[in-house]
């Protein structure tokens, strides 16, 4: 009767079954629940809820959707209801067929049913049918995706047992983003963290990784794969011990022949980060305890700052605050002559009118692109580099090329619901 009520209460129309699916939900935060009368007899309830939390999280990591488990609201308010059953089940009009063949199905209204005659298993549990894979697939249907007959797609109708890594590939990501849009949002800072590492053979090599930080979370961005690390975002304190839990204003890595120092800035304070031991220093060589005041460590630089980056070309740290830029000479430990300057004087627009005009979110020197980017909101401006100026002499020094969208250059950097941050 509950199912009939749900059917009756919602007017329906035959949907345009376009090849790419349809946008099943218009809101971005969706509630889900493993219904009480639909627990599996094969896994503990906690295992089932954990697997579903992970499945929803995987979709949240590649789309602007967020999912929250809701065990209290009335069932009609729950967007996606999951349950196990066998044969005739849960008031559904498509009976299950027993072990083998059909293992689950999903319905427009957001109901997902799993055939409890199947041998569902937890991730990495070897034989049996991975409940995680099936759940991710069926959630894809509820979100509006059809079957996709493409090797590697999560939306293939048949179950694929042997896969080393079960993650959403580029095409599946674009398929869901085609329905719900890309992931946009401001960042507190973006930087490449460079460090020395010893190879198993004892060689010292230089490695770098790219990090995007937003409030108390961060993503490692894998440039060669055009995506974030699987499983991100993660809470700051997990990877950056001692850094303010709720986020930073900037991170600067002063890396030259003489210096190798990473600084985090937040408000009026800054911390130096110990890359060797992966945590903030408690004090500097002169015994000053961290965090220190920016005004002491970087005389002439105001605080709080909007952001900052280190330019290896001239060994200056460029601090940004509102419309002004403060170039700080690291060697001289003082502001460079003539600064502060207006941001348009330091970074003139190549195309007039196309300029962030201050209050930028992040300034990022990318070792992958060997270029500087200024990020503001969902846009970024690339700074003209020396190579560009060799080819186009008319380009002004440090000119800003026309803006582009952040999510069209660094892909799939998506939030998850705060409750889903930790599984």
């Amino acid at each position: 009767k509950r199912h009939l009520a749900a059917l009756v209460s919602k007017s329906r129309r035959k949907r345009d079954l376009g090849e790419t699916g349809y946008m099943a939900f218009s809101k971005k935060v969706l509630k889900w629940r493993l219904i009480g009368e639909g627990y599996s007899s094969q896994l503990t309830v906690e295992e089932q809820r954990y697997i579903f939390r992970l499945a929803f999280r995987m979709w949240s990591e590649v789309s602007p959707l967020e999912f929250v488990e809701d065990t209290r609201s009335p069932l009609e308010d729950i967007d996606i209801r999951l349950g196990f059953g066998t044969g005739r089940h849960l008031g559904c009009n498509q009976r299950f067929d027993g072990t083998g063949q059909e293992f689950a199905h999903a319905w427009f209204l957001g109901d997902i049913h799993f055939d409890d005659d199947e041998h569902f298993t937890a991730p990495n549990a070897g034989s049996g049918i991975s409940l995680l894979k099936v759940a991710v697939h069926e959630i894809g249907h509820v979100l509006g995706l059809p079957h996709i007959y493409r090797p590697g797609s999560i939306m293939q109708p048949s179950y694929l047992p042997h896969e080393s890594v079960f993650e959403m590939d580029w095409m599946d990501r674009k398929a869901i983003q085609h329905l719900y849009g890309g992931c946009k949002g401001r960042f507190n800072t973006v930087f490449d963290w460079i460090r020395r590492e010893k190879t198993p053979y004892g060689e010292v090599v230089i490695r770098f990784n790219t990090y995007f930080m937003r409030d108390g979370w961060y993503w490692l961005y894998e440039n060669r794969n055009n995506r974030t690390r699987y499983g991100d975002p993660v809470a700051l304190q997990i990877g950056w011990r001692g850094v303010p839990l709720d986020g930073v204003d900037a991170c600067v890595h002063v890396w030259s022949r003489k210096r190798d120092a990473v600084y985090f800035f937040r408000g009026t304070q800054f911390w130096r980060y110990d890359s060797e031991n992966d945590g903030v220093f408690t004090q500097d060589p002169e015994g000053h305890r961290y965090p220190r005041l920016i005004s002491e460590g970087f005389p002439g630089v105001p605080s709080p700052i909007d952001t900052a980056f280190y330019d290896r070309r001239d060994s200056h740290i460029y601090f940004f605050k509102n419309r002004l830029v403060y170039a700080f000479d690291v060697e001289a430990n003082s502001l460079a002559r003539g600064f502060p300057k207006n941001i348009r004087d330091v970074f003139p627009p190549v195309v007039s009118g196309d300029h962030p005009d201050g209050n930028i979110d992040a300034a990022y020197f990318s070792y992958t692109h060997n270029a500087i980017f200024l990020l503001k909101g969902a846009r970024f401006w690339q700074v003209v580099g020396s190579r560009d100026r060799w080819r186009w002499l008319f380009l002004p020094r440090n000119g800003l090329l026309p803006h582009k969208e952040v999510d069209q250059h660094w892909f799939d950097i998506c939030n998850v619901h705060p409750t889903a941050l930790k599984l």
Binding site: H141, N225, Y230
Partner: protein, 171 residues
């Protein structure tokens, strides 16, 4: 049976009485193909919701009412087909549906219900038809070919040649 079992019989595989019916002949293959949208079932009833308000044709309510009661008590019947309608075997429609299924499943496209096709049909799969069916409308979309996305080789992206990131291990 093993001579000796674990003390708690955890190693004893209880024979699960509910086994899915194995697809072994053309009739069951047709059921499979029509169920998953590869061919149009001839006389399933067409039940439409209307836009402005929800009204049902009488049969739908009866069917659903029967479903609700049935779910409570009627045991799982194995031999007779669940509903009392028969799907006539139109060899052309059947052959083209078979070809469609074979094509999207990466099988040799023969249009014949061969061994490879039989194996593919019996694999565990999602119960959602390949051409999505409105919730209670039993008619597959006009275009019987699966309206799934068949990806032409889109852009490729660099494959990660550096070491596996720790997230994979962590997940």
């Amino acid at each position: 049976e093993k001579l000796f079992h674990n003390r708690d019989h955890s190693d004893v595989q209880t024979l699960n009485s509910h086994q899915a019916e194995v697809i072994t002949d053309k009739y069951k293959a047709e059921l499979f193909l029509s169920r998953y949208g590869f061919m149009k079932p001839v006389n399933w009833e067409e039940i439409q919701f209307e836009d402005s308000h929800t009204s049902f044709s009488g049969d739908f309510l009866n069917d659903l009412q029967a479903t609700i009661q049935e779910g409570a008590s009627v045991p799982h019947s194995r031999d007779a087909p669940q509903d009392d309608y028969m799907i006539p075997t139109e060899s052309e429609a059947f052959a083209s549906a078979l070809k469609e299924f074979q094509k999207v499943s990466g099988l040799p496209v023969t249009g014949v219900f061969d061994e490879a096709t039989k194996v593919a049909m019996n694999k565990p799969r999602c119960g959602v038809p390949d051409t999505e069916i409105d919730l209670n409308t039993a008619v597959a979309a006009e275009n019987s070919s699966a309206s799934d996305i068949e990806n032409s080789p889109g852009d490729t992206y660099e494959t990660d040649s550096n070491n596996t990131s720790e997230a994979v291990r962590r997940r």
